[in-house]
């Protein structure tokens, strides 16, 4: 009986520690390191050459977690994407990241273009085709300030002392750079960045061109599955990883 009580206390303690880590700055564990290849091919080829361009670069399988239901009215969701394969390469002063994951549903569309003429002078307005669909997406998050030691910001979009940059790619709406200082503070900067996504044989391969992050920088990844109505914090996420 004593042992069971002790175990309960220890497990509650561990859980509290884990929750605290998720909400505050943390020091990532040593097993969470990401190799960065010095690429033999040029940055443009890596960005736009499709999955074949990355053949020579080893992938690290990064485990994804699913956020628990955030709101009482949320529908529950199964874990359909347990792993994202991450490849990193430095080329011509840029850091390129390829995220690759298995997704049986291709949730993307091409939105009708808005013609250059003002809407009031046109016969036809660009229509909304569907109001209830959500699209596949992925993101890379890293500290906005240069990493001091290996202390990472809160995994929940950073915190007041540790702002983060989020490079977000959406299968329909393209890329955008965002900044955040804690949960629900995410803001679009209005900037975009070079990114490329292809969907083949039930797999997304998405390449991001990031600023050249120094070794020791912490990065985290997220994947949204449109068919599971993912958006906002309803998503898959990794814990912090450290660039080698």
């Amino acid at each position: 009986m004593r042992i069971r009580q002790l175990l309960t206390i220890v497990s509650v303690g561990l859980l509290l520690a884990a929750i605290t880590c998720a909400q505050t700055a943390i020091r990532p564990a040593s097993g969470q390191s990401l190799p960065v290849a010095a690429s033999p091919v040029n940055a443009n080829h890596l960005l736009n050459g499709g999955p074949a361009a990355w053949n020579q670069i080893a992938a690290k399988h990064v485990a994804l977690n699913r956020t628990p239901p955030l709101y009482d009215t949320d529908e529950p969701a199964a874990v359909e994407i347990p792993i994202v394969d991450v490849r990193l390469a430095r080329a011509a002063g840029k850091l390129l990241v390829q995220l690759s994951w298995h997704d049986t549903t291709h949730d993307a569309t091409t939105l009708a273009e808005t013609p250059n003429t003002p809407p009031e002078t046109r016969f036809r307005k660009v229509p909304t085709e569907a109001d209830d669909r959500f699209f596949d997406a992925a993101a890379v998050m890293f500290p906005a300030k240069a990493a001091a030691g290996a202390i990472a910001p809160s995994l929940q979009m950073g915190d007041a002392e540790h702002p983060v940059e989020i490079y977000y790619w959406n299968a329909t709406r393209g890329s955008m750079v965002m900044q955040a200082q804690g949960r629900s503070t995410t803001k679009r900067t209005g900037q975009d960045f070079p990114a490329n996504g292809t969907y083949q044989n039930g797999r997304w391969n998405v390449t991001f061109e990031l600023p050249d992050l120094v070794a020791g920088t912490t990065v985290a990844f997220a994947v949204w599955n449109g068919s599971q109505k993912d958006r906002d914090g309803r998503k898959y996420f990794s814990v912090w990883q450290v660039l080698e």
């Binding site: 709101y71 009215t73 939105l111 809407p119 109001d131 629900s184 995410t186």
Partner: protein, 333 residues
């Protein structure tokens, strides 16, 4: 809580279903890319499917202090916006008749004037709807971006288009389904109670254009305003679905005296043409008292007396129907 609250009263006995309010709103606010299917103001036939279809039955709102689940209505529920091939007909010399495309299969007020049967007689009435600018907005609570706020100076509920990320939790949470997603901008939109007009002393476009003169606008907390008098003094206007818990600030004078064949002049309680149960479904059990009050006022007038409530409902001029307070505007630099 806001310091003041703009409110609207609509007298359903006067609505003729002409959709002039709908067009006034559409021309002013939703004549842009991505807004074709959306009607911030719509008029639907009751009983009926509503717009979007079955909005009154799919969920949202509050229960015991918690938001209630709801699916997102689909484009089929709203009805796809259609366009006419004017270019082909007018400029390209094609000889087909002007046709809508895509082929319309549903839309707002698609079941116009269908109504329902009460024994052997058909009945229906029109229900104009805008955002209710609720005192406890479920949409505001549901938004994780804090993009929705209730204006402190006048209680109008608006969506900050810079903060909105198009997550659509608000659409699910709204029990009246009065928020719409614009796929072109990737953001959600809703009725803004024409606040830019109110700030200039002009009444809402839907009210200004209404040929039935059935809309009354003012501050609920202003004793001079017609909405204050109708809702709080005469107590003859009720919110829609009060049990949804959001405390709407749009109120309705229920249809209380539609003539039944050969029975002109008898009221709903004596000889119901519109079944009372249906009005209770829409406006809650208090509708019984409201109809009794309206009936008493009508009798007073018929016996040669003067009914302040009915004089107000007639609403002969804009000064009677609207009492705006543009000086409430807080200029933000």
């Amino acid at each position: 809580m806001s310091k003041h609250q703009y409110a609207m009263v609509m007298d359903l006995n006067k609505c003729l279903g002409c959709q002039t309010c709908t067009i006034a709103c559409k021309k002013l606010w939703t004549d842009r890319d991505g807004t074709g299917y959306m009607y911030w103001n719509n008029v639907e036939t009751r009983p009926g499917l509503g717009y979007p279809r079955q909005w009154d039955r799919i969920g949202g709102g509050w229960k015991d202090g918690a938001l209630q689940p709801s699916p997102l209505p689909t484009m089929d529920d709203y009805g796809h916006a259609w366009e006419y091939n004017y270019e082909q007909r007018l400029y390209e010399g094609k000889k087909q008749p002007v046709m809508p495309s895509p082929e319309p299969k549903s839309g707002c007020n698609w079941d116009e004037d269908v109504g329902a049967m009460n024994e052997d007689e058909n009945y229906f009435f029109y229900l104009p709807r805008i955002c209710n600018h609720c005192t406890y907005p479920a949409c505001l609570e549901a938004c994780p971006r804090k993009a929705i706020y209730k204006r402190e100076e006048d209680g109008i509920v608006v969506i900050d288009q810079d903060r909105c990320q198009g997550y659509r939790y608000c659409i699910k949470a709204c029990p009246y389904k009065k928020i719409y997603f614009n796929e072109v901008t990737g953001k959600s939109e809703k009725c803004i109670f024409c606040y830019p007009r109110l700030e200039k002393g002009e009444v809402n476009a839907c009210a200004a254009q209404c040929p039935g003169r059935l809309r009354f606008v003012g501050l609920l907390d202003d004793p001079e305003s017609p909405v204050h008098k109708l809702v709080l003094v005469h107590k003859i206007a009720l919110p829609l679905f009060p049990e949804k818990g959001t405390q709407p600030n749009v109120f309705y004078v229920p249809p209380f005296n539609p003539p039944k064949r050969d029975n002109y002049g008898k009221n709903i309680q004596e000889d119901p043409r519109v079944p009372l149960d249906y009005l209770i479904y829409l406006f809650g059990p208090e509708v019984r008292d409201v109809i009794a009050r309206l009936q008493a006022e009508l009798r007073k007038a018929q016996e040669g007396g003067r009914s302040e409530a009915l004089q107000l409902l007639i609403g002969r001029d804009a000064e009677t129907r609207y009492h705006l307070r543009p000086q409430l505007v807080q200029i933000q630099v």
